[in-house]
Structures are given as C-alpha cells and as structure tokens.
C-alpha cells in the first residue's frame, strides 16, 4: 500500500522537499502538479489572492479523496497534497499534488482526479484582490449535493 500525506498550511510550499523525498522503487512515474496564482481571471487584472480554509475538515476531505483515488488505482500510489492558505502573490504556488505510481497512465489519471475533487469538495476559499482596488470571494462549487466533473472548471486562472 502506498502512502498519503495531506496538509493545509500557511507556509510556502517546498516543491524541492516533495521531489527529493524517497521514491518507491516500484514507481516508474512521478507527477508533480502545481497550481499558481495567475494575474488575470475572467478579464480582471489580479494582483494577489487570499486563501482561507476550514482546516480540520479540509484535511479530512482531502485524505478521503486521496484514499478513494488510491483504492481505485490499486493502492500502490504515493500521494502528497498540499494547499496554501493566507496571502499569496502572483506566481506563488497555491496547491501541489504529487503522485508516484508504477506507470504514467495511473499517475496522470490520479493527479487529475485528485485536483478536480479538491476543487469541488475541499472547504477552501479564495479571495481575489484586483489591480483596481476591488476584491471578491469567489464562489465555485456548492458542498450540498454537487457532483464533481472530471472536466473541471476554469473559474480561476491558476488551476
């Protein structure tokens, strides 16, 4: 059985630490997806983003998502999911999803599935701060009765 590590944190995400962690010798594929804060969303110039989360539940839901994806893939996957909260500038990494797997196909699939589920189910919110001085909490997926789609959405530029 592979490993799962999930974290919601204010500290900067250390991509080097994720990539330098020991690799399962049965794994021939590694995917590290990063989402970054983009400077444009729906035509508005964005200067920064603030993330907030209901941390205890967010980490439980992210763990549950990873467990489900791991089971579906045959339980050999190693998974790391880290989501930033707090104030992020343009270009900073807001989310990292690492998947180690025996083969590339299951790694790609698992990475995508985890990210789409995260966006649809994790109690995390982003507030965009615009160049014109305005700011707005984005409202994406309702947590009551929503079925996430693999196609995802494009409501924010970074992910």
């Amino acid at each position: 059985v592979g490993t799962i590590s999930v974290k919601v944190q204010t500290d900067r995400i250390r991509l080097d630490e994720i990539l330098l962690a020991p690799v399962n010798p049965r794994h021939g594929a590694q995917i590290l997806f990063t989402g970054r804060v983009r400077n444009l969303n729906l035509g508005k110039a964005v200067r920064a983003v603030s993330y907030d989360a209901f941390e205890p539940l967010a980490e439980k839901i992210l763990s549950s998502i990873c467990t489900d994806v791991q089971k579906k893939a045959g339980e050999l996957l190693d998974i790391v999911v880290i989501h930033r909260i707090g104030h992020l500038e343009i270009g900073e990494v807001s989310v990292a999803v690492y998947v180690g797997a025996p083969h590339r196909d299951e790694a790609y699939r698992a990475s995508r599935e985890i990210l789409e589920q995260l966006k649809a189910r994790a109690p995390i919110w982003k507030k965009e701060h615009y160049e014109d001085g305005d700011s707005e909490w984005l409202q994406g997926h309702a947590l009551c009765g929503h079925t996430p789609s693999l196609e995802g959405d494009h409501s924010h530029g970074s992910v």
Binding site: L57, A122, P123, K126, W137, H141, L143
Partner: protein, 87 residues
C-alpha cells in the same frame, strides 16, 4: 441557548468577526440552524441576496458535512460553508 457558527468565504463580508451566534435548542435540525443564521446575517447585510447564497451553503462540524434534516442535539459549534473555490 446559543450556537456558534464560524464563517468562511463570502460570509466573511457580513461581519468583521469570524463567527456569529444564533439562538438554538436541542430539537433544532441543521436546516433550522440555517434559518436562524439567515435572520442574524440578514441584519448584518441588508439587501444582499442571502437566500441564494444560503441555499448553496452547507453546515459542517470538524468531521463532516451535516445533513440538513439531522438534529443538532447538544452540539453548539458549527461552520457555515459557502460554495468552495480552492485550487
């Protein structure tokens, strides 16, 4: 009796505080709790389309999202979760 309801996302625009208190009793369902929250939040931001936002919002505790029909019992601390936008 009162319950504390922690606020997130768009609900943070209703008050400088991170939570509100709403009157409850043991026979309340989660839906009743939301109705009480609607009364409190409506006073804080008159004119806002609160009904739409609340209809798309869930109530949770630290372990799970709660069913609207379930009783709150002696639980007195909740989180009000508007549509999420992580990633």
């Amino acid at each position: 009796m009162k319950a504390r309801l922690r606020l997130f996302g768009e609900f943070r625009n209703f008050t400088d505080s991170a939570e509100i208190e709403v009157p409850v009793n043991d026979g309340f369902t989660v839906e009743d709790l939301k109705s009480q929250a609607a009364v409190q939040l409506g006073k804080l931001r008159p004119g806002y389309d609160l009904e739409r936002l609340l209809s798309r919002s869930a109530v949770a505790d630290e372990n799970r999202i709660l069913d609207p029909k379930e009783l709150i019992g002696d639980h007195r601390w909740f989180a009000l979760l508007p549509p999420v936008s992580g990633g």
